[in-house]
Assembly symmetry: C2
Homo-oligomer: 399 residues x 2
């Protein structure tokens, strides 16, 4: 008899299952606001915070990851948020509506920072982004960060580089003030988008093996080191096909796939999760930004000899282009000639290229082949030589 232990989000209108009762109707028993205090794999038993315990034949760890909060004074004040799940989003929305917010500060210029600055600007809120690092979206090439920076500028979002938050206090003009090593920032709302953390206490106590990344080790069927215990999603590792090793890469689409694979295996239809190539994307105002595979730094760490090319091309055919830029960077391995990674940025067509490059990485294509890929050419969607071909051919000449 399946059990679900955790919180059930009641406010998500599209979900058919909205309440514990809805869940029960599906034959799944639900215990909300209940913690698992201890797992006993020998007895097949979980002990719960309500003093009861549950026996299991199969246990699935789907504990995810939590959004990190900076440990600075005032980090828990009203108006200071993280954004991880729907509950967080709804809390932010209510706060914005109720408190007539005029100014927001986003700590961290990663995905959350980029996506939220657009959302907040669209609501007419003065928004500032800061980061302890020298540039936004640090995983991307510095040339691409520069374009993101320009896009922030065009949309009146100041970016404060190498700025360290020190404390949050009550404000005068605004509800809050963020004190940093570069001065004070007024804010009605402060959002921390500074990564995730996982609590592995329960996992380790149960004797479930944790990988080098600090997340739960699983095999390609999502089984942990402990028989009858599976793990899926942001609490576990995933196999990176390009790096050829297990890493931590917590993204929602990966979690979905892992859940399906675990479910199939538990249900008796053996299934294997083939792994990932590290595809990711975000939109910030009018820019599409995507990456897949390994960066040069990551490739070096994983023992490759990365060589790269970066070109500025056109997202559509030259006769139709109106000044749109498309930046594309490819990384290949000098030893094997294989494509290792790609990054793309532009007002249009960037994600289109990352879609293709992700499949090229999946299939372990070499860079010569990438230079001759048959892509669906028509002027509204690219040139007869696509940016992918041009960049790959330039890179092939460097190998």
């Amino acid at each position: 008899m399946p059990y679900y232990i955790g919180d059930v989000i009641k406010d998500y209108k599209r979900l058919v299952i909205r309440t514990p009762e809805d869940f029960e109707k599906t034959g799944v028993h639900v215990k909300i606001k209940t913690r698992v205090e201890d797992i006993d794999p020998q007895k097949g038993l979980v002990r719960l915070s309500d003093q009861s315990s549950l026996s299991y034949d199969i246990l699935v760890m789907a504990t995810g990851a939590a959004a990190q909060r900076l440990i600075i004074p005032g980090a828990d004040m009203e108006g200071v948020f993280v954004l991880r799940n729907l509950t967080d989003a709804l809390a932010i929305k209510s706060y914005l509506n109720e408190k007539a917010c005029r100014k927001a500060v986003l700590i961290g210029a990663g995905y959350i920072g980029m996506e939220m600055c657009e959302a907040l600007r669209n609501l007419g809120i003065e928004t500032t982004v800061l980061d302890i690092l020298p540039r936004p979206v640090i995983r991307w090439d510095a040339e691409f960060s520069k374009l993101v920076l320009e896009e922030l500028g065009k949309n009146s979002v100041p970016f404060l580089a190498e700025t360290k938050p020190l404390a949050i206090e009550k404000g005068k003009e605004t509800r809050l003030v963020l004190k940093t090593d570069k001065g004070n920032l007024d804010a009605d709302l402060i959002l921390m988008g500074v990564g995730t953390r996982r609590d592995m206490t329960l996992v380790k106590a149960a004797g479930i093996e944790v990988g080098a990344s600090g997340a739960i080790k699983v095999d390609d069927r999502q089984r942990t080191s402990v028989p009858e215990i599976y793990a899926v999603g942001d609490c576990c590792e995933v196999f990176h096909k390009v790096a050829n090793r297990w890493i931590y890469f917590p993204l929602g689409d990966i979690a979905n796939k892992q859940g399906r694979v675990a479910g199939q295996n538990i249900g008796g239809t053996p299934a294997v999760f083939p792994g990932i190539v590290g595809a990711q994307s975000f939109k910030v105002f009018n820019l599409e930004v995507g990456a897949t595979g390994l960066t040069e730094e990551e490739a070096t760490l994983h023992g490759f000899q990365p060589v790269s090319s970066l070109i500025w091309g056109l997202p559509i055919g030259r006769p139709m282009a109106k000044g749109e830029k498309l930046g594309l960077k490819l990384v290949a391995d000098k030893a094997s000639g294989k494509l290792l990674g790609g990054q793309c940025i532009g007002e249009k067509g960037a994600i289109q290229r990352i879609f293709a490059l992700s499949v090229a990485l999946w299939s372990k294509l070499n860079i010569e082949e990438v230079g001759y890929l048959d892509l669906p050419y028509a002027p509204p969607f690219g040139g007869a030589w696509d940016a992918i071909h041009i960049c790959a051919q330039e890179l092939a000449r460097k190998l």
Copy 2:
């Protein structure tokens, strides 16, 4: 000493090489408005229409294909056009400007018909498309043709199905009248977009082998059956990686790649053209339409056992979607489980999917893998389960 024989387009402003003299500066001798009457491979000689002849060490056949004109009375009247090259395009543009055209009829509902009806409507010209076939863009699934038909309707372009042009005559209200088996159509301009034809007389006389498709047979270095004679572009065949055979597939991006490969081989840097997967696309008003690989009919012809799924999904994440449709059809082989083809249509994101599927076909992925591809998920660009995953998983269940 390289020679170029043929017409040089003088009106293309972006070309650095605009005149025979420009060409000469690059060290290439040019003979324009000159026909090759005969090729003598034994002597390495081409005889020209100006009575002179030229000797060669290497000969490249880049004779392309010509646009077909229907053989009906009046097909050569002023105001009746085909659209193959820039000269055609400029002639159409001049005619439209000078003759104050109000009405156009497009014969043929393939690429040319679809792209030109958009261009003509944008100029405010009343435009009708007709075809002898029952629906537009016949290579696409009937459900997708229906969406194209709706798009034509939204843009006030009537489509006349199963209509046979019989003759073109001088008109009264308009410059011309097209007589068909379904009645007469007034038109100031008539455009025939009914495919291409090739004249193989010269080729056959020279003893150059012609493939089953009727185009010049080449190997993967673009060499013909005759030593020192290469062929590239719309006059020759190309290797289709999915069909695993040489076929005729005349598209501009393929011609570009073949030219590069031939040039490298001639220049002493051996290069191989890896082939194509049949990727193609066009835009008609607000619809992106793409296809790659084989249709079910083609797959059957080539000895596969095609199984297909067609889904209507979303081009972007559900919470961001505003009613945009995305149609995706995948074809796989029952015997091998391999992906054989894909078609996609929608207001946005259709070509993005065809980019990815083209690389999947290139890499001979099976449909199970396609169902788990790692694609760059973010709500502005797709769902956590992309339409590709959903369609591939549905199809995998049918195998």
